[in-house]
């Protein structure tokens, strides 16, 4: 049999006062590699063991600050550089609104780093193969005893001397701890390979199923099947099975308000021109006039049709009768038609009709320009540098 290597000597004590005294003695005797094991932290033990204050706080501080900095910089970059977007009228870098997330990330990083730092860096966990674990000594200090262990690696380690010291301090039990035999784990055990295989098949299968099947099943397929009416499809909801329904009487389609004064003679008093005379609206009216009106009324409204007699020519728009018509009546005529002229309400929108009315007014003024109008034009051209 191989000889076991000694880890160290341990001693148990049964009251907190006694262990504090014992520890004071041991640390003042100059032992360095000793440790105290208690079922819960004892007050005053730090001083007795002459431990330096924990440096854990520095990890927390550094990671907490970096969490805050990262969060702020990232949100600054994302919201004001990478994809700037005005939200709620707030500036791109809306600092007050970034505070909550900054705070959360600070806390998250600080706590996680504290814990991970403590477990790995300070404790070197996990350490389930530590020689003390599994010993009777560990069972006692886990329950209700207080123990001291001195490692064999300590410079002053001397089996006999330490035993004497322990008994003098009033120990109730001394135990020698040995390093456990090193265990070996052969890599290619049958069981292990089988285990890997099962995992591979399971993950592969699941991934295939999720990506190729599950995502196309109800309800994960973006709610493709829904209990709603789909035009020109069968519906289970109605007894006749038609998904397409005849609208209720009096239904008006959005944006297609019917013309109220159809067939009336002169509703001009109810109609007023909503369109301002601007250059833009006049040019728009010109375009529409040239498209829809000029074929019969002529390019300048003179009644000189381009239709070469296919239709009778309409009268000129520069007659006094037309000039004196209110805007509403011209609008009404475009809507309703007059004599041989048909309604243009299906070809033009309301806005376009009013624009045409405006343009007709422009034509009328141009045909009957006064001296002052001419001077005005001259002035304007001079101002434009022509």
């Amino acid at each position: 049999m191989k000889e076991k290597k000694v880890y160290g000597l341990t001693a148990l004590f049964d009251t907190p006062d006694r262990i504090i005294d014992a520890v004071k003695k041991i640390s003042s005797d100059g032992y360095k590699k000793f440790d105290v094991h208690t079922p819960y932290p004892l007050h005053g033990m730090d001083g007795a063991m002459k431990l330096k204050p924990s440096k854990l706080g520095y990890i927390t501080l550094v990671f907490g600050l970096s969490g805050a900095l990262f969060a702020l910089l990232f949100m600054f970059w994302a919201m004001s550089i990478d994809y700037p977007m005005v939200i709620g009228g707030k500036p791109f870098f809306a600092l007050p609104a970034f505070i909550p997330i900054t705070f959360e990330l600070t806390v998250l990083l600080a706590t996680l780093s504290t814990v991970i730092g403590m477990l790995t860096f300070f404790f070197s966990f996990p350490s389930n193969n530590h020689p003390l674990i599994g010993s009777d000594y560990m069972r006692s200090v886990s329950a209700d005893k207080f123990g001291i262990s001195i490692e064999a690696e300590d410079e002053k380690f001397d089996d006999i001397q330490i035993r004497a010291l322990f008994s003098k301090l009033g120990t109730i039990q001394i135990e020698e701890i040995y390093y456990p035999d090193t265990e070996t784990f052969p890599m290619f055990q049958k069981k292990f390979i089988l285990f890997l295989l099962v995992i591979a098949i399971l993950t592969g299968g699941t991934t295939y199923f999720v990506l190729n099947k599950l995502l196309f099943m109800q309800p994960f397929n973006w709610m493709m099947t829904q209990d709603k009416l789909i035009p020109q499809e069968r519906s289970e909801f109605f007894s006749d099975g038609f998904g397409m329904r005849v609208p209720v009487d009096g239904t008006v389609a959005r944006g297609f308000l019917p013309y109220e004064f159809k067939g009336e003679v002169n509703p001009a008093s109810f109609l007023s021109n909503p369109i301002l005379l601007t250059k833009k609206s006049i040019l728009f009216g010109q375009q529409k006039f040239l498209t829809f009106c000029s074929p019969c009324h002529g390019n300048f409204g003179d009644g000189d049709s381009r239709l070469r007699g296919q239709f009778p020519n309409p009268p000129t728009l520069h007659s006094n009768r037309v000039k004196e018509m209110p805007d509403g009546q011209i609008f009404h005529i475009i809507n309703n038609g007059q004599n041989i002229m048909p309604s243009y309400s299906s070809q033009t929108t309301v806005e376009e009709r009013w624009a045409i009315v405006n343009y007709i007014r422009v034509l009328q003024r141009a045909k009957n320009a006064t001296q002052s109008d001419l001077e005005e034009i001259k002035k304007e051209s001079a101002a434009n540098g022509k």
Partner: protein, 455 residues
Amino acid sequence: MNIDYTIEAPVVEGRLTLGDIERLVAAPMESKPDKKFYIALSISGTFLLIGAVLLAMSFYKGVGLWGNNQPVGWGFPIVNFVFWVGIGHAGTLISAILFLLRQKWRTGIARFAEAMTIFAVMCAGVFPIIHTGRPWLAGYLMPYPNQHGLWVNFTSPLVWDVFAVSTYFTVSLVFWYIGLIPDFAVMRDRTTAKIRKTIYSIFSLGWRNSHRNWQHYEKAYMLLAGFATPLVLSVHTIVSFDFAVSIVPGWHTTIFPPYFVAGAIFSGFAMVVTVLIFVRKIFDLEKIITLNHLEKMTKVILATGLMVGYAYGMEFFIAWYSGVQVEQFVFINRAFGPYAWAYWIMVSCNVIIPQLFWIKKIRRSIPAMLVIVILVNVGMWFERFVITVTSLHRDFLPSSWGYYTPTIYDIGILLGSFGLFFTLVILFTKALPVVSISEIKAVAEGAQPNHGGAH
């Protein structure tokens, strides 16, 4: 009863030795579950199943099965979310804030309350995600580089919620686990069964009660408590921001953050007391979770209940004082409108009934306490209902007023969340030590050296 103020009341009653404490706490884990356990588990499991089935149907058919509609788009899911997050506040409060305040009585209840926090946050987390209608797309809530080149809106309180609740869950879990490590070691050293020993060994990470470790451990615990305290406040604050940053009258009021936090502590403590009353009885922990502890908790409930009452009053007063008509209307509508029944349930359960705790006899009577804390839970659920629903159902446009009624699906899912919560609680009582063994040992009589010495 006369109290001698010169002596500190013992935390653990009956002069238990360290060994007794350990045996008492470890007992539920070392015995086979009995019939009562299975009955309790099957009841809570049934509720869980009901919830799960109704939830599955909601996804299959679509969330139109719920009562949520215009104008009340935030119905039960948000009410339940806020309710459960609130419940989840007591644990961290007890474990962190009372730890920082050096309240030794917290040791008996901290572990259990922390576990309840974690379970409650799990219940809470379900609701906003299902409220989206497509929970499998919840990943979009995380900011990750994607093909659209888009980021989540970091200025949105709903995104703050995602960060706050997930941070809170993570930190609570870590905090809880850190507290459990020494207890896992205790269980490892107690048990002889091989599988259990392996499991405990893995989770104990090789903890060996070394004081060189305890020193850092205590520091870490303190740091975590220091971070958990503002964190717990921030979580419900951010939940309150969900409402308060809007301009909806009844939601937009500056007292919401502290008011929500007080309400959360209030409801959380009520829930902890509710569950602890049963746990201490069933598991024979009356000497560790003593009547004194429960009495202290009722005092906290009374105090936070008063804070909540203060907030109700302040809201009403400022609504009148502000001179803003819609604001005034909302509060009159709350108290006398179609949802007046909910409002008065809330006021009587949250403000009026807890006043009974002024009487010492009621504070020390378990049945009376149980009734009151359950009513407080009901009241706090209705508080969230009142805030969410009454503010929405009649806002600026009288033409879009409406009345919200939950459907059977809403109610079933709420019951399901209770099922989830209690199933987890019941499993926890058998799987892990419900009281922190090492902490309670440390505050037992004679556990600390007498002559102390300098720090």
